[in-house]
Amino acid sequence: MRLISRLKFQTKISVGTFLIVVAVALMTAVPVSRMASRAIIAESRGRGLALAENLSLRLADAMLTQDLLRMKTMVDELTAVGDDTVYAFVLDDTGAVLAHTFKKGFPVQLKAANAADGKGASVRLLDTGAELVYDFAVPVVISGRRFGTARLGLSRSRAEAEVNSLLFTFGGLSVAAMAAALLLSSMFARRVARRINLLKEYAQEVVRGNLDIETTSTLKRNCWEIMQCGRSQCPAYAMPRHRCWHMHGTLCPDCAPADGQVRKSCVRCPVFRANAGDEIQDLSETFGIMASTLKRQIGALGQQQQLMRTILDATPDLVCLLDAQGRFLAVNRAYAAFLGRGEAEIIGRTEADFFSPDESAERAAKNRAVLCSGMGKQAEIRVHTARGEQWFHEVNVPVRDAAGQAMGVLKTARDVTEVKSIEEKLLQSQKMESLGKLAGGVAHEINTPLGIILGYAQLLQDDVPEGGQISEDLRIIERQAKVCRKIVADLLGFSRQHESSMVPMDVNESVSDVVSLVRHTFGLEKVALELDLDEALPAIIGDREKMGQVWMNLLNNARDAMPGGGAIRIRTRRREAEGVLAVSVADSGTGISPAHLDKVFDPFFSTKGVGEGTGLGLSVSFGIVQNHGGTIEVQSPAPAEFRPGSADGLDSGKRPDGGNGPDGGNGPGRAGTVFHVLLPLSCPAPAPAAAPIFPV
């Protein structure tokens, strides 16, 4: 059986057809030959009997007249009539031979070999040693009396020779038929096998991944040409290698849906009648459509997979899928990057391969808990990585198979380090705000008594002799009270930076208001103020009070930088390219050393002596500007166009008396420092929660 199953299909068809022909030939030739030989033998016996009886009848006269010559002639005639007549002789009623055809003498044994008993004929098969002979014995009866016996010997071997000839002919014909059958079956088998082999090659191509195969040939006339339909939206339209009866959704009105009933309606269709092939053709066409459908589905699946992969890889969250044993089944790009390994290195391994024993044990316990309970869990976890401490919001959910059994854990982790940091800053900010309010409240309450202490300390100095101990003590009280006053002022400013009231405001107006407030005081300290305002500035959304405080702080800072007097130039400009509005406050002081430039916005940073400043002014200003979505930049030495006394826009008319750098102090022209407050033109709503209190 194994040998048969290993035979090629073509051989099987050829051998099978041949064997069928052989079996049919044998089944027909053997009985037919037997029947034919029996018929020939029977016909031979019948003929011999007829000849013997005929001889018997004709012998009657000669027997009555004892005409031996005539009898001799009659028996000789019989041997002359057919080749198969071996002998003939006549016996009288006593058994004496009256005539015979033997040329070499009558064989006496022959007389007793057969006898006609009664009136009927007797047929015996005799073996003469040379051949088999049918011996016919027919009594010669005249008027009821038996006169003798007519005997006739008919060769059976000659009849058998005829039979053999017949059998030979049959055999020859059968062999010729078998040869023809073998030839035809081989041709048929080759034809069938060639098409099946072609299909096998297509199948192998499909297995190799090549789905661009054409299993069918083009037609002489396609369905849209036969039907002249012009329906270009039909899926069968302009598809010369796809047969319409295999396709879904064809638009022919006579087309039935492509289901089990399709062929019934197609049988009458002229397209089907013109183009339909045999079953192998059908198989081939179906195979082609199957391959193209497979290609389309694989393409769609590939796109879907790519889409899913893109989504997974695009998300910054760490995503991984573990099986029930804790082995990685899949990870996304962010997860692989987190572990610092390639995706291929991670798949199939466990968390124990990448994390410390303690951490991996903890993770394994969490995974088991999710698998056992079947419930998702989420938590915020802290992880120590090469980048330092990171916080993740981790969500672990069980993944179930089709039977609903938990087969793994899908883990997603979002880096919330920044959120945590912001939360901490917010907490800190809230603490500082509370502290600021408390400090502000205390400072405000202290202000009045402090003023009285300061005032009386100064008054009392008039009442005691100058240079004495009491006068010196009072000066110390006065100095320290002034230190307290400065601290209180800073604390008040610090406490007020968290309140906010955002309204449309004119920056020029805000700057002018502050300048007019301080102009007199600054004038007393020989500090001149120059205004260079861009009249076309747009309004911004901001807190007038806070921005006023910023200008005030910057002006105070500039004044403090010029203890011997000098000039301050305030310039407002719209910087269209950067989308900002710039307020630049430049002084003619000594400038800031490069070492201090990047520290000036740090809280409590001050170059002033002890008791002269808390170092909160610029820090508070920075926080306010940042809350407005802007920033403060510093340049020292200031570029020429910002320096006080530069040609354009000098507001000389508003210069106070005695200003403009007297006594060789910090007069205009010195490099000094410029602070640029940059505010966005369309200022966003403030985000006090996210804004740090101190710039970092």
Binding site: I452, G455, L459, D513, H520
Partner: protein, 119 residues
């Protein structure tokens, strides 16, 4: 020398300013009640009023407004422990000549008063 009134809800603060300015030779009256100060201004010529913004019943700005009705030429210095641009602008619009933040220094007070009286 000038006639000056000082109005502050804290008596010690008002008296201290009175002490400082009296030594300059000015005639100074200190008040803690708004109405008393206004009454004094109605009955006496006043050159300068030093007004705290936060008072017992009114604000310093409201007192200034009333005072200007009584004596339109009176000069004014506003004092506050809690300065805002809003009150500063209001005060300047009503004719205040200076706006000082508490606690005020003796020399600052003296120079401010001198400057305001001279202007």
């Amino acid at each position: 020398m000038a006639s000056i009134i000082v109005l502050d809800d804290v008596a010690d603060a008002a008296i201290m300013i009175k002490r400082i300015l009296s030594r300059q030779g000015h005639a100074v009256e200190a008040f803690t009640e708004e109405q008393q100060a206004l009454d004094f201004a109605r009955e006496n010529p006043v050159d300068l009023a030093i007004l705290d913004i936060k008072l017992l019943k009114m604000t310093g700005v409201e007192v200034l407004e009333e005072l200007k009705k009584i004596a339109p030429t009176v000069r004014a210095i506003m004092l506050t422990g809690y300065p805002t641009l809003e009150t500063a602008r209001q005060a300047l619009e009503l004719g205040a000549n200076a706006y000082c933040v508490k606690p005020i220094d003796r020399s600052e007070l003296e120079s401010t008063v001198a400057a305001v009286l001279k202007a």
